[in-house]
């Protein structure tokens, strides 16, 4: 159960089709999210297992605002704990990544094992019999909080909660299968890391990720250069609790055969063509017909396959109107040199400068600024109905409604809505 009380908040509108703008603006909401969603009974993405592959390797990350360390000890296991000295609270790891024998706080040299256990306190017994910690001080009773960890096809998720379901149940079979589809049986290799600072509340970015309605409207790259395939089929999957989603599109072989004749006669409306169309000369990512799969897990993680651009995105709130978006672009050890080159070219599609994603960097800010004086008004989410269910049409806001269904439940704003 959520522990931070949100009873002082204005009433949430009935159903799932209205989202009050105050939810993107209030400091008390932000604080409650940190406690209920990021430190609460949910799984948040921390890093790739490939980044902590060998004993002694560590990766500093975040659960929302809370700094954490993921490390691999010499027993081969992964551990994670708060990046905070139990003494006076200073950070233990100051680098994002590295290799360590142990973690020693720079402030007073309290030392922790790779599992996050306090193993030493400088001058614990004083100097020449004077000073030092009291005899009753027990190392075992002090230490940073530890996290539960779960690894899903190389993705490391963590939670402070003992109550959260096992990750397989938390995500459900459909989401697990879709993660496996992209990452299963392969060894990811990091080919680039980029951080994009968004001028908006984190939930506006999550909404954008789950918004299958905006794709062809806001992102005009494919349309302008006549790169859309006519014969696509696709759908969205929304998990039962609403919080996780997949949107995908695939080549429709049957329609392609029918359309092949008419395609001969297609004229470019825009008149624009790519000077170097090799950008889109890719390969079937995992041997099937799915060319795009955007997957998000509650509350704030994205796994993307956009043609041959595979990446994970960690969404970190950094204030009511500021969000850090960490992109990790992936290749695979199994890539041929030609396939790797395709990934490098198609990385142009995504990220801060991405042909089909740069708009997502600014549009959340347009909303944040647009609603500045409208706290008591609400966004309208009626496209595709009022429910938060899987759909064969992507002209729907069902997965955004799903997010708000999981959000309001997780925040204790109201009991789970029947929809």
């Amino acid at each position: 159960m959520p522990t931070t009380t949100t009873t002082e908040l204005p009433a949430w509108p009935e159903g799932l089709t209205r989202v009050p703008y105050w939810v993107f603006q209030r400091e008390d909401v932000y604080a409650a999210e940190q406690e209920n969603l990021f430190r609460g009974p949910h799984w948040n993405y921390l890093c790739l297992e490939a980044e902590v592959a060998s004993p002694g390797q560590f990766r500093a990350s975040f659960l929302g605002d809370t700094p954490v360390v993921v490390s691999r000890d010499h027993d081969g296991e992964l551990y994670a704990f708060e990046n905070r000295c139990a003494h006076r609270g200073a950070l233990l790891a100051l680098d994002d990544r590295g290799t360590a024998k142990d973690f020693t706080c720079v402030y007073h040299a309290w030392t922790y094992s790779l599992q996050g256990d306090l193993t030493g306190v400088a001058f614990k017994d004083g100097v020449k019999g004077k000073g030092g910690m009291p005899e009753s001080f027990c190392l075992e009773q002090h230490g940073p909080r530890k996290l539960r960890l779960a690894v899903v096809h190389g993705l490391v998720f963590g939670s402070f909660s003992d109550d959260v379901d096992d990750i397989e149940d938390y995500l459900g079979d459909e989401i697990m299968d879709r993660i496996e589809r992209v990452l299963g049986g392969r060894t990811p290799v990091v080919i680039g890391r980029f951080t994009q600072m968004l001028p908006n509340n984190w939930k506006l970015y999550v909404e954008n990720v789950k918004d299958s309605y905006h794709a062809s409207i806001l992102h005009l790259f494919f349309t302008t250069f006549e790169l859309n395939r006519l014969s696509q089929r696709g759908a969205i999957i929304v998990s039962e609790d609403g919080g996780h989603h997949v949107s995908y599109s695939a080549i429709d072989r049957e329609a392609e055969r029918d359309a092949s004749y008419s395609e001969q006669n297609i004229r470019s409306d825009s008149g624009y063509k790519l000077a170097d169309p090799s950008l889109l000369e890719g390969f079937s990512e995992v041997g099937d017909d799915t060319t795009l799969q955007i997957l998000s897990t509650f509350p704030a993680f994205v796994l993307q396959q956009i043609q041959n651009s595979v990446a994970v995105r960690q969404i970190l709130p950094r204030g009511v109107d500021r969000t850090e978006l960490n992109w990790t672009l992936l290749g695979f050890e199994e890539d041929t040199p030609e396939q790797r080159k395709v990934r490098l070219k198609q990385a142009n599609l995504v990220g801060s400068a991405g042909y089909i994603s740069m708009e997502d960097g600014c549009v959340g800010g347009f909303v944040q600024r647009g609603v500045a004086g409208a706290s008591d008004h609400a966004a309208v989410l009626e496209m595709g109905g009022a429910s938060a269910e899987s759909s064969e049409s992507r002209v729907t806001e069902a997965s955004i409604r799903g997010f708000w269904k999981a959000y309001t439940a997780g925040m204790g704003i109201r009991q789970e809505v029947q929809a």
């Binding site: 990091v190 080919i191 680039g192 890391r193 980029f194 951080t195 994009q196 600072m197 968004l198 001028p199 806001l218 005009l220 790259f221 349309t223 302008t224 250069f225 825009s270 624009y272 790519l274 000077a275 170097d276 090799s278 950008l279 672009l329 790797r340 990934r343 490098l344 070219k345 990385a347 142009n348 990220g351 801060s352 400068a353 042909y355 740069m358 708009e359 960097g361 600014c362 800010g365």
Partner: protein, 157 residues
């Protein structure tokens, strides 16, 4: 050609490059490159680790042309401009036909509403081809000091 001449040619070419972008003549930007060229924008962290992917990655001049067409015709972003301030090129290698140089830069971004911010700092790692009195970029790796980009990177650096 003397080192002094090469220094002058590259200095002049880079001033023209910055002026081209800052005065919104993006259509001319690909002309600073050879047809078979390499241009990428990356970060110091990625560069140090040898990570290959860029924020922008192009291995033909056509891909640079496409960047500009996309910015003009397809991509949506709030109107803004840059002011590039370039340091002196440091000539690392000069064999008379090919010159490797490194140049530090600062880029101020000026938004529609007038707000001006230091948007990027970094260095250009360049390979220039010298043809008589002209130099063209065969390779420019833009290494940004920070791994953070505020909002989006539309105009080239």
């Amino acid at each position: 050609m003397t080192t002094r001449d090469v220094f002058r040619l590259i200095g002049q070419a880079q001033a023209a490059y910055a002026r081209c972008i800052d005065s919104d003549r993006l259509e001319d930007w690909p002309d600073f490159f050879t047809e078979k060229c390499f241009y990428m924008v990356t970060t110091a962290d990625n560069h140090r680790e040898g990570l290959e992917a860029g924020l922008i990655w192009a291995d033909t001049r056509g891909m640079l042309t496409d960047r500009v067409s996309a910015l003009r015709e397809a991509n949506i972003y709030e109107r803004h401009g840059y002011r590039h301030i370039l340091g002196q090129p440091f000539i690392e290698e000069d064999d008379g036909r090919e010159v490797r140089s490194e140049t530090p830069f600062l880029v101020v971004r000026i938004m529609r509403d007038g707000s001006s911010d230091l948007f990027a700092s970094g260095r250009y790692l360049d390979r220039y081809l010298v043809e008589g009195d002209a130099v063209l970029l065969a390779e420019r790796v833009v290494v940004c000091d920070s791994s953070r980009i505020d909002t989006l990177l539309a105009l080239p650096l």
